[in-house]
Each structure stands twice: as structure tokens, then as C-alpha cells.
């Protein structure tokens, strides 16, 4: 698919809309009162599975571990038929080639973090090389991190230019821009960083690396969804959303879907425009699906850990 462009005409990011945190908390609480039952729960759970970027981002990752994960991605729970696969596998650049091979023509994408993930504290050239390396090894998607230090210092142009440069290095790979919202201190800043990333050509904006707490809180995700909505209204360009880190159970994932549905509508309720970055979410969703199917509450012993 085609990817987003870098915008030539950009607004003054200092003037990004303000966000009232208490109001956001109230709105999020409303999403959380939605009661998802029966067939809508089953449908929702399958959507969640299909939106997962199954992730392993550990220093101790090995090609073997990545191969296991890739197998899991294609065989989530074979005792249950009609299960979708996850959307993508998310790994470090060094593991991209291994993942690509293991996934073959399953249709599951390979996403690679880059730009000296998770800190982003590396020279510009290295970040570019890091990205090119991943793309050349077959990454379909690049998950970059922004320079939070520069952002907090108010150097919005630096942040914009860096994202734009990575975007160019991505070629035809889709770019997810990780804001690392846990380090941005306020929802106003989350909104501003979202605007910068979208104008700089992000195909997705993503909350977190998963290495910092808090990560993908619903408040943060909601703020970013609102930014996506405004960007779409202004430019007609769709941007995807990826909450990552901290979404470890089905209920929270379903409430995230509620939030997408009621903020952006059905157009974003698919893995082309919405992803979950998660490592342990899949098994909880599977347990819930089995509970729906069999009527028995499940035990973790029956679901493979990879």
C-alpha cells in the first residue's frame, strides 16, 4: 500500500490544541462503562487478535526465540478453528531477516524498531543506517522513536526533520512513530508530538516503547486518536494508531476498540489503521475466546507461552 507523505506546509506546533486532562479522564471512564457481551465480544476479541503486533524486544532475544514467536503468530491456538492471525511480528533490526524467513508468505508483516530503540540516543547517521538496515532486511514496517530530549527542550523543528528523514529512509515501508508518551509529561505534549509526527509523514503514531511506565494509558491513546481525527479533517490523510505497552488483558483491549469506534468510527477498526503492541495480550484474548466458545473459564496452562 502507499504510505503517507511528508507535509511541506506545517502549522506552528507551539499552537497545537490544548487538552484538558480531567475531561479526557471522564471521557475514558465513559468508554470503560461500555459493556461488551456475547457476539459483539467474540467479534471484538477476534479483531483484537488480528490487530496485535506480537512483540519481542529483549536484549536476550535470539533467532530461535524469534522463530518460535513467528510460529505462534501463525498458530495462535490450533484447537480453535477460524482464528485470525496477528497483524505483525515486532522485533529488533538484527532479527528482521530471521522473522521474514520464518513468516514466509503467511501475510503477517514484519515490523522492526529502529533509530536506536528504545532511547533514540544515537547520532543521526546511525539512526538512518539502523532504519535502512531493517528495510533492506525486509521489514514492512518501521517503529522509530522520537528524540524526547529535543522535544522537551522545545526543538520541534529538529524532531520534525528527524522524523521526515527516517520517513525517507523507510522507502515503501510504513512508518510508526513512537512518542514515548511516558516521558512527555502532559497530554498537551502528547497532542503536540502527535501533530509533529503526522505532519512529518507518520503512517502510524504509537504511544510507547514498552520500556517506560506509564505506557499506553487510555488517556494517552484517546488524546492521540483525537489528534488523528483533527489531522484527517484538515488534510484528508488517514493516520493509524498503535497503543503499545501495558495492554495485557482483553477487557482493556476491547475498551480500546470502543474508543476507536466512538472517536474515529469503523474506518479505523482494522489492522491497517489500528494495532496493539503487546507480548502477553494474545494469550488472554485466546483464553477469553475459549471461554466464549466452551463456557469454561480457562487456565493459562492450556495456552502456549512463546
Amino acid at each position: 500500500m502507499s504510505t503517507n507523505k511528508i507535509h511541506k506546509k506545517v502549522p506552528d506546533f507551539r499552537l497545537s490544541p490544548t487538552v484538558d486532562k480531567v475531561g479526557v479522564e471522564e471521557r475514558v471512564a465513559r468508554f470503560q462503562t461500555r459493556s461488551i457481551k456475547n457476539e459483539s465480544k467474540m467479534q471484538g476479541l477476534k479483531m483484537v487478535l488480528n490487530m496485535i503486533d506480537l512483540t519481542t524486544l529483549e536484549g536476550k532475544d535470539t533467532p530461535g526465540k524469534v522463530r518460535q514467536l513467528c510460529y505462534k503468530a501463525q498458530h495462535l491456538h490450533d484447537v480453535q478453528p477460524d482464528l485470525p492471525t496477528v497483524a505483525a511480528i515486532c522485533v529488533y533490526p538484527s532479527m528482521v531477516a530471521e522473522a521474514k524467513k520464518a513468516l514466509g508468505n503467511s501475510g503477517i508483516k514484519v515490523a522492526s524498531v529502529s533509530t536506536a530503540f528504545p532511547s533514540g540516543q544515537a547520532p543521526h547517521e546511525i539512526k538512518i543506517m539502523d532504519t535502512r538496515f531493517a528495510v533492506e532486511n525486509g521489514a514492512d514496517e518501521i517503529d522509530m522513536v522520537i528524540s524526547r530530549g529535543k522535544f522537551l527542550a522545545g526543538e520541534y523543528n529538529f524532531v520534525f526533520d528527524e522524523i521526515a528523514a527516517i520517513k525517507e529512509a523507510c522507502g515503501s515501508a510504513r512508518l510508526k512513530v513512537i512518542l514515548e508518551t511516558g516521558e512527555l509529561a502532559s497530554l498537551d505534549q502528547v497532542r503536540r508530538a502527535s501533530d509533529i509526527a503526522m505532519y512529518a509523514g507518520a503512517d502510524f503514531i504509537k504511544t510507547s516503547t514498552g520500556k517506560i511506565q506509564p505506557a499506553a494509558t487510555m488517556q494517552v491513546t484517546y488524546t492521540m486518536l483525537c489528534a488523528i481525527k483533527d489531522f484527517y479533517l484538515k488534510t484528508g490523510v488517514k493516520v493509524g494508531m498503535k497503543p503499545a505497552g501495558g495492554i495485557s488483558n482483553s477487557k482493556l483491549a476491547l475498551h480500546n476498540l470502543v474508543m476507536v469506534k466512538e472517536t474515529l468510527g469503523a474506518g479505523w477498526l482494522n489492522n491497517e489503521w489500528f494495532r496493539f503492541g503487546a507480548s502477553s495480550l494474545a494469550n488472554d484474548v485466546l483464553m477469553q475466546i475459549m471461554k466464549q466458545t466452551t463456557g469454561h473459564y480457562q487456565s493459562a496452562d492450556y495456552f502456549s507461552i512463546d
Partner: protein, 505 residues
């Protein structure tokens, strides 16, 4: 020039119309029905009056039916109290005041109120379900707003009972005696709590009349009060219609009248108690302004507007029924509002996912529909949510009118339903003037990121409650009440005690 201008507005409209189709809020994935269980709730077939600690049949022998406005199903029969019954209730309240309640130490008085609060908390879910059945309001609201607030109100005022001397420095306070209280149908249990709790804490005894369309939770409260062991006659509940209320207002042995309801009836009551020496507080209608400036947190403001007008089907005296948007952001705000309207679920009030429940009664439904017709005839642009509504029962789609003139009736009169009128403004002076340009003065909302502007507005808006960057928030500690024709006296907080006390000078 004029021609250019016109084409510009037409262009703006097409942008809005187009973008409305950009977001599909109904397709792909929907929520399955998720109704709150009702099996644990056992309604009686018939509810009698609660007088002098006993449940007694009305002297006329007459009962009236109360129905579920969402289904038109009959829920129960309720006693129709007349003048004679009111007289019995007032006499019981007088005896209880003279012989028991005024003799009790303030501490003990407080402990009874605490006990009522706790019993209500224990039965909270039952109260919420019955409230939803009888009033048509959503279970989400009765469960999360009405019932907890009602419990908390008792809890808050319970603590005041033995601390009254701290509320009014340098004044000795005294209870008034018998308080006659008449409450509306929009927040049946909560209004009962707003009335009974401070009255008891201040040392009065009570005769309360619930609204005729929503008497059930008041009767459950009577059962709770009975269970609490509150001395007989301290609280009496007499159900009935307007004539029952009039009998309370006109009873010569009532020392205090507290009324929440329409401005029209409030005025009748004000006239009726003239010259009687009865202390009076009135909490009446409103046509509150909600004002959005261009620098506001727009998404939260839109949410606040939705909460301001569609909360409780718009059956809220302080509903933010007049929206003023600064012209520079008007298109965006209106569009976001329309999107938000489309995501609202209207339907079965017992469903946990329902955002907007049933209109409380057929009569109110007709009033609202009449105003929608008036709005259309006045030339305002109407937008109704695309949501589906049930075929049976009293339901109205959330509705907004744009291009509304200040002189238009839908911008001036209280509709008491899910209907919002939208006007635009350019300058701060203009909006203050327009917001204050009403006989009412209950509440107002202001949305802006600028602190100094908030305080400019909050001081200049002539309204008893001003919500800045929020709307429709309530708390037992927070005084509530109006300026001008929205009534006088406050309910809630320390100031709410004043309505039930006199000073020994």
C-alpha cells in the same frame, strides 16, 4: 461582496456534510444488548402513604398507576394522597418535632441520618434499577450518578447535625419545625435526598411529596427510613398529584416550603405562601449558557456540551441548553458535536450501554416535540442523531439546532429535553451579554484555556453555578441554586443548611 459571503457559507456547509460521512460510527462492530438484571428487584403491586412511621392507605382509597416510560408497562399502583392525608402527615410531623426530634441530642440525630445513608448504600443497586424503571433514565446514570450522590448527600449532612454552630459564626441557630417538600421527576431519589437530608440535620421534621410519574424510589426510601428506626413521624412521604402538593404548601402548620420544579409552579407557590411567614426556597427552571472560546480544549468542550444537554435526556434544570461558540471554531465544534451525536445510544434505559434513555412521560414528550417543531418553523437548521430509536416507548433522538437567533423561542424557553440550540459569537462582551439575556440564572459553562478569561466570565455570568472547563458536576458539598427566575436558596454544602434554620438574634 454579499454574494461572495453567501457562497462561502454554502461551501462551509458542504465541508461539514461531507465530513459527516467520513466517519462511520455505526458500521462493522456494534454492542450487543447488555441489560442490567432486574430479578433481584421485587416491586410491590401497591404502595401506600408513609405517615407517622406506618404505611397507610390513602383516605380517599384512590390509587394511581406509575408506568415505565420506556415500555409503557405498568409498574405499580401508588396511593393518591389528598388534603386529609397531608393533614395527617403534617400533624404527625408536628408531634414528632415537638415530642421527639427536637428533644433528641444533635449527635443522635446525626447518627440516624448516617444510618439511612448506609442502608441506602447497601441497597444502591436496587434503588438504581427501580429509578431506571420508573423514570426512564439510563442505568449508567442512576447507578453511577443519582444513587451514589443521594447516599453521599445523606452522609454529608449527617455530619452537620451536631456542628451547626460552626456554619453560622456568632449566631445561634434553631430548626424551623415542619418542612413541606415537593420534588420533581427528573432526579427522583436524588432530589428526595437533597430535601430530606439537610432538613433532618438541621432538626426539622418532613412531609415530602414525590412527583406523580416517579414515586417509587421515594417509597423505597420510606422503607429504608422505616428500617433505620427513625422515630415515627420525622419523615412522612405522601404521594399524589399537584393538588397533594398544594395541600402541603397551603397547610397552616407547615413552617417551611421547599420546592424544586418549574418556574411557573414556583411562582404559584411563592404567591401562595405570601404573608404566611413560611420560609421558602425555590429551585426552578433554567436556560443555561455553555460558552466555547477558540482556545478551549475543543474535544473536551464538545464532550462537556454533550454531557451538558443530553445528560438525563436533557431533563435537567441546569442543562446547558444554549451553546455559544466563538465563530472561528464554530464549524469544527458543530461538526464534532454532530459526530458525537451519532455515537450516542438511545434506547432501553436498563441497557448498560445506553447513553440516552426514555423521555419521562408522554406529556413531556409532546412538549419537546412541540419545541422541535417551533425550532424548525423559526427557520433554524436542525440536526438529529443518526442513531436508531426503539419503536415503542417515549424516545427522542438527540437534536441540535444551528443558526438560532437569540430571539427564537428555542433559545429562550426551557425545553427540558435533548434539544440544544447553537449560536455563535465574536467577542467576549457580546457573549456575556447574550448569556445573561434571559430571565433565568441557574448555571453556565465556560470553556477556555485562559485562566484570567475564566474568572472574567465566572464573575460576570449571572448564574448560581458556573462550570469552567467542565459541566453538570454535582456534589453534596457544593451549593447549588439559582439567580433571578431560577429560584432562591441553595441546596448542598454549608450554605444549604441555611434553608432549614432560623437564627435567634
Amino acid at each position: 461582496m454579499a454574494k461572495n459571503k453567501k457562497s462561502e457559507t454554502v461551501d462551509k456547509k458542504t465541508v461539514i456534510e461531507q465530513s459527516n460521512e467520513l466517519f462511520d460510527f455505526n458500521g462493522v462492530w456494534d454492542y450487543a444488548p447488555s441489560p442490567e438484571g432486574t430479578s433481584h428487584v421485587k416491586l410491590k403491586e401497591r404502595y401506600d402513604l408513609y405517615i407517622d412511621g406506618k404505611f397507610v392507605a390513602p383516605s380517599s382509597g384512590k390509587y394511581f398507576k406509575t408506568v415505565n416510560p420506556a415500555t409503557d408497562e405498568e409498574l405499580a399502583e401508588v396511593a393518591y394522597g389528598n388534603e386529609q392525608d397531608v393533614d395527617k402527615a403534617v400533624k404527625a410531623a408536628r408531634v414528632a418535632y415537638e415530642t421527639v426530634w427536637s428533644k433528641l441530642s444533635a449527635k443522635e440525630r446525626g447518627k440516624y441520618i448516617f444510618r439511612i445513608a448506609r442502608l441506602m448504600q447497601e441497597k444502591a443497586r436496587e434503588l438504581a434499577v427501580v429509578e431506571t424503571l420508573d423514570a426512564g433514565k439510563t442505568i449508567r446514570e442512576s447507578r453511577d450518578v443519582d444513587v451514589p450522590l443521594a447516599c453521599n448527600h445523606f452522609f454529608y449532612y449527617a455530619g452537620w447535625a451536631d456542628k451547626l454552630e460552626y456554619a453560622f459564626p456568632n449566631r445561634k441557630t434553631q430548626a424551623l419545625g415542619v418542612a413541606g417538600q415537593i420534588i420533581p421527576w427528573n432526579f427522583p431519589l436524588l432530589m428526595a435526598a437533597w430535601k430530606i437530608a439537610p432538613a433532618l440535620a438541621a432538626g426539622n421534621t418532613v412531609v415530602l411529596k414525590p412527583a406523580e410519574t416517579t414515586p417509587l424510589t421515594a417509597m423505597l426510601l420510606a422503607e429504608i427510613i422505616h428500617e433505620s428506626g427513625l422515630p415515627a413521624g420525622v419523615v412522612n412521604i405522601v404521594t399524589g398529584y399537584g393538588d397533594t402538593g398544594a395541600a402541603i404548601v397551603n397547610h397552616p402548620d407547615v413552617n417551611k416550603v421547599a420546592f424544586t420544579g418549574s418556574t411557573n409552579v414556583g411562582k404559584i407557590i411563592q404567591k401562595a405562601v405570601a404573608g404566611t411567614g413560611k420560609k421558602l426556597t425555590l429551585e426552578l427552571g433554567g436556560k443555561s449558557a455553555n460558552i466555547i472560546f477558540e482556545d478551549a480544549p475543543i474535544d473536551q468542550a464538545v464532550e462537556g456540551v454533550v454531557n451538558g444537554i443530553f445528560f438525563n435526556q436533557g431533563h435537567v434544570c441546569c442543562a446547558g441548553s444554549r451553546l455559544f461558540v466563538q465563530e472561528s471554531v464554530a464549524d469544527m465544534v458543530i461538526q464534532k458535536l454532530k459526530d458525537r451525536l451519532d455515537t450516542l445510544y438511545v434506547g432501553n434505559p436498563l441497557d448498560k450501554n445506553t447513553d440516552i434513555g426514555a423521555i419521562n412521560s408522554k406529556a413531556q414528550m409532546e412538549t419537546i416535540l412541540k419545541y422541535i417543531e417551533i425550532g424548525k418553523n423559526e427557520g433554524a437548521d436542525i440536526y438529529e442523531s443518526k442513531c436508531s430509536i426503539p419503536k415503542k416507548g417515549n424516545f427522542i433522538r438527540p437534536t441540535l439546532f444551528t443558526d438560532v437567533a437569540q430571539s427564537s423561542r428555542i433559545a429562550q424557553e426551557e425545553i427540558f429535553g435533548p434539544v440544544l440550540s447553537v449560536q455563535t459569537f465574536r467577542t467576549i462582551d457580546e457573549v456575556i451579554q447574550k448569556a445573561n439575556n434571559t430571565p433565568f440564572g441557574l448555571a453556565a459553562g465556560v470553556w477556555t484555556d485562559k485562566g484570567s478569561r475564566i474568572f472574567n466570565l465566572t464573575t460576570k455570568l449571572r448564574a448560581g453555578v458556573v462550570w469552567a472547563n467542565t459541566y453538570n458536576k454535582f456534589d453534596p458539598t457544593s451549593p447549588f441554586g439559582g439567580y433571578k427566575e431560577s429560584g432562591f436558596g441553595r441546596e448542598g454544602g454549608m450554605h444549604g443548611l441555611g434553608a432549614y434554620l432560623k437564627f435567634e438574634r
